[in-house]
Symmetry: C2
Subunit: 362 residues, 2 copies
């Protein structure tokens, strides 16, 4: 099988971790009769500074017309307001209709840290609306007071498809678990989906979000019999996630809450440098590490490539290649267990050393 | 000195922790030549169910005209959308123009848990706008698709006063620290204020928030010389708060981010049942525990009264009575150190036992 993958390293350590993920995919291809072709695509704040746009149309066209999937690195944010700049990752999610951001957060057993909580959570973040629609404007009122308004949009359609993805993934996780020996399963109960919202304040928008997802559940007998539906207010969710992360299986959240929750969850498993994501639509998938561009460590060979490597696996998983994906996951686990760790995990391995270890364990 | 305090227990465990706080204040009054008069005020979801309103005008009038300060308990949220219901705490903050929600999060040394991180953070949450203005509406578009829009408002004025409060409190905390022996200080550097925002996506609203607070700083030589100004994107803030809570002194955040951050910070210090807040305006202060109404444990004598008791102290502190306030704080610390703990802290003491212990240590 031959696959064309668009690579958009963008800024900072994005330019180090995307090549690392590419190296792992290349190494994998020989053993799986897969053939990867890689296409470099421009985007990012650095690109904006040189060219006046953060996302050239060519990148969108190449991804849409020539690629079977993509991997995105990370973008830097300007440290002051910059006219004309707009986040390329937010735009890409919208242009390619990648409506769900799938973020598995899983703790690996760490012999040096036995008190670490056991986490095996899947966050589904709605990826196209909420405050991310970027309808914002500044006004001056009749008393010369300046204020600004942003619109937060929640639609039935987006809520429905995020919800449906959460239920489907809860069932898929359950099937995989059923194939594991009981003592290896972290989650032993019925599959569970937790809806995150703040409908005690946002009764209309988050009310629509919550009622729509509840509706999908109530109208699908298979979900009702096989899945437990729970809900949490977003503030309380952050609290409970830190106190009892083992109480969550699949979590579905509107865009901004999902953004915040997934960074929070990353803290639970030791480092943002470990957590992958996939931006998933009906016809395209783009892997993306959850971490940012980390300008403070860029170019120093310190970036943890694991989030990007796992994002490559998540990409494969979501385009119908679970076998090669699980190969990568296992090689990453072996690498961590063998003690190859970048500085964010308290180690001193370089990006390159960790990447080579993953290739070795493939 | 004679003070009239409005008590609004509202729902669930609010009806247990507010009487506990009252008992502590009564006990305190004898030793400080303070005289408290308490006025009960109605509000809450239960009250709504009986009377069709969650916040009777009489409560607002009593607080505004007859009281020197108030203590609010907690409100329950309806588990499904309820027509006509609107959160009374959000309304009170607005009606009384309590523009800053001040939330100190402090870890107490726990001999049983030496690995607990040292936290001494003050979160200033803007308390009147952001998504809490409750301008929301549902629409159906030309293709019969249902969607809803909420407005998020950020004004220069609200940002400015939240920012100013943060800088002032950073200086006040520093003065108190200077009176402590060096080895007891948790924060040894220059006072620090961290602005939380998400201006990489919300460049207009969060841009205004951030630039306004930066402006206050840049135009006030005292702040510039004495305070370090930092900033964090809200997602990264949650991550960093969990990884290195000791890196934060004063944190200032728009309403919703502040709501989420303070629950998250509560997880760091062991329990939501410990964290107080004060809703502060120029002419009125209302103490309020950060926890909710916890219907699952209401009426079982299990509620931790400490958040409410500390909120009473925070109220006193903010109406110019730091002496009696610090008496309460010390009595609470002594109570915890002596091992009086409700179930949320892993103990088995009742609400009443903890309250009596605090009175004893006063
Ligand atoms: C860079 C930023 C726009 C982005 C987001 O908020 O979605 C990032 O935080 C993420 O989580 O992918
Ligand atoms: C009850 C709810 C409206 C409230 C809020 O979101 O402000 C609560 O969570 C709080 O933090 O005081």
């Amino acid at each position: 099988k031959s696959l064309t993958i668009g690579l958009i390293p963008a800024d900072g350590i994005g330019c180090e971790v995307i090549p690392a993920a590419r190296q792992v995919l290349e190494h994998l291809s020989s053993s799986h009769q897969l053939k990867f072709r890689f296409v470099h695509c421009d985007a990012g704040f650095e690109y904006f500074q040189k060219n006046g746009t953060a996302l050239p149309q060519k990148t969108v066209d190449t991804l849409r017309n020539d690629c079977d999937g993509a991997l995105f690195g990370a973008v830097s944010s300007p440290s002051h307001k910059v006219a004309g700049y707009s986040s390329p990752i937010v735009a890409l999610r919208k242009h390619l209709d990648l409506y769900a951001n799938v973020r598995p957060v899983i703790s690996t057993k760490d012999p040096q840290n036995p008190s670490q909580k056991s986490v095996d959570m899947l966050i589904i973040r709605e990826n196209t609306e909420c405050l991310y629609i970027k309808k914002e404007q500044q006004f001056t009122d009749e008393n010369n007071q300046v204020y600004a308004i942003a619109e937060r949009r929640i639609s039935q359609k987006a809520s429905e498809r995020a919800g449906r993805m959460a239920f489907q993934m809860a069932l898929a996780r359950d099937s995989i678990r059923q194939q594991q020996p009981v003592e290896q399963r972290r989650w032993t109960g019925k599959p569970q989906v937790t809806i995150v919202h703040k409908s005690n304040v946002l009764s209309v928008t988050d009310g629509l979000w919550r009622e729509t997802i509840r509706g999908v559940y109530e109208n699908t007998p298979e979900y009702q019999t096989r899945i437990n539906l729970e809900e949490q207010l977003v503030d309380s969710m952050v609290y409970r996630m830190f106190r009892e992360p083992e109480a969550f299986d699949v979590v579905v959240a509107p865009n901004l809450y999902g953004d915040i929750l997934s960074d929070g969850a990353a803290a639970l498993v030791g480092s943002l440098g470990l957590v992958p994501s996939a931006n998933v639509g009906d016809t395209f998938v783009m892997g993306e590490p959850v971490h940012g561009s980390a300008p403070d460590i860029a170019g120093q060979h310190k970036a943890n490539p694991i989030a990007a490597i796992r994002s490559a696996a998540l990409l494969l998983e979501n385009i119908g290649l679970p076998g090669p994906a699980s190969n990568i996951y296992n090689a990453v686990d072996a690498t961590l267990q063998a003690g190859y760790k970048t500085p964010d995990l308290g180690g001193s391995a370089t990006t390159e050393e960790v990447t080579e270890a993953v290739c070795k364990y493939l």
